[in-house]
């Protein structure tokens, strides 16, 4: 009788162990979580603080030059957007100015300086395609626009042209 009980106990122990294995297998599942996200930023606005001022050109002048780092006649613009965001700035360096009442043209070569502080003297000269610029903690970036134009053979009169600068988030 004792031997039979021992044998039964052994068999029960085996069945109990085996059942645990099956139970463990039933738990073979996995759960993962995926985060879906979208970051919406403020659109970038460009504000023109002032236009370039050439004043009046004298007949004796050969070139007009406005230094973007030091001249007070530069144009000034501010980009406004998301604080601390990286931006890309691009522009066309040469633009054509047209005589308002004729066919004469002048080619203006732009030079632009940029800074995340409102400080022209410490600004950096920008190339035509800049990708490593950042809006400051208030979401601002400053531009000073200058350049050169040769007026040696220019006909008297007013010349107009536009300047396009493109600013976008990276």
């Amino acid at each position: 009788m004792q031997r039979t009980f021992t044998l039964l106990f052994c068999l029960l122990a085996v069945s109990s162990f085996t059942a645990k294995q099956v139970s463990g297998q039933d738990q073979k599942s996995s759960r993962i979580s995926i985060n879906a996200s979208a970051q919406v930023v403020e659109s970038i606005e460009m504000v023109t603080v002032r236009n370039m001022d050439f004043s009046s050109v004298q007949p004796s002048q050969q070139t007009i030059s406005i230094d973007p780092l030091s001249d007070s006649n530069t144009g000034k613009m501010i980009a406004l957007g998301n604080a601390d965001s990286q931006i890309r700035v691009s522009f066309v360096r040469e633009r054509t100015l047209r005589h308002v009442s004729g066919t004469s043209t002048l080619t203006f070569t732009y030079e632009i300086a940029g800074n995340d502080e409102d400080d022209q003297s410490s600004a950096e000269i920008l190339q035509t395609d800049n990708r490593d610029l950042t809006l400051n903690s208030e979401g601002q970036y400053y531009f000073w626009i200058g350049g050169q134009v040769n007026v040696e053979n220019a006909k008297p009169g007013n010349y107009n042209g536009d300047f396009t600068i493109e600013v976008e988030y990276i």
């Binding site: 009788m1 039979t4 044998l7 039964l8 068999l11 085996v14 069945s15 085996t18 059942a19 294995q21 099956v22 297998q25 039933d26 073979k28 599942s29 996995s30 759960r31 993962i32 979580s33 995926i34 985060n35 879906a36 996200s37 979208a38 970051q39 919406v40 930023v41 403020e42 659109s43 998301n82 965001s85 988030y169 990276i170």
Partner: protein, 193 residues
């Protein structure tokens, strides 16, 4: 009486022994681990604009999330997907929301190939679960009767394979405030019964 007891013992013992063998067979059931990994999160972009409109991550986009499920190639798995509340992404659960359409597909031909994928969630009304074998054409050399069993009793294998679930979808950005909108997608994966 002693003789009778001895006979009963002999009759009972084979019955227990048979029971033990049945359980031992269950031990052979597919014991391959079910391993689930993900390629990352579903990011619709970091510089999206107010009122931008629809933004999509299509199935074949590099931004599609790939969930790899590795297990017994002959066994089927149940996949259950839980969408973000209200089918929307939000800023910390606030009322600022972006409508989100979750989409999902799976490929079980042994290759991570979206071109072979079967879509099982295509819109917000699609059922959020599906079942498929880990490898549709599992090629284990072991004959079906010789290998372990899947959880539901069908022939398993001693060979691992990987199936792929693709998570992608669309959002629509309306007139909302700037910020980071998020939502959680949960996937439960288990061997099918």
């Amino acid at each position: 009486m002693k003789k009778l007891f001895a006979v009963i013992s002999v009759l009972i013992l084979p019955a227990w022994a048979l029971q033990a063998q049945t359980l031992a067979l269950n031990v052979q059931s597919s014991s391959q681990n079910l391993s689930v990994t993900t390629s990352g999160d579903l990011n619709f972009g970091n510089n999206l604009m107010n009122n931008q409109g629809p933004v999509s991550i299509p199935l074949n986009s590099p931004n599609t999330v790939v969930v790899s499920i590795t297990g017994d190639e002959r066994c089927a798995v149940d996949i259950s997907v839980t969408r973000p509340p209200g089918n929307a992404l939000s800023i910390n659960g606030s009322s600022d929301q972006i409508p989100f359409t979750l989409k999902a597909a799976y490929a079980n031909d042994g290759q991570d190939d979206t071109a072979q994928a079967n879509t099982f969630i295509d819109n917000n009304n699609s059922p959020s679960s599906t079942t498929f074998r880990i490898e549709q054409q599992g090629n284990s050399n072991k004959p079906p009767w010789a290998g372990p069993k899947c959880r539901g009793g069908s022939p398993g294998s001693d060979k691992l394979s990987t199936a792929y679930v693709y998570i992608y979808g669309d959002i629509t950005i309306g007139n909302i405030r700037a910020g980071t909108y998020t939502g959680n997608i949960n996937l439960n994966v288990q061997y099918a019964d």
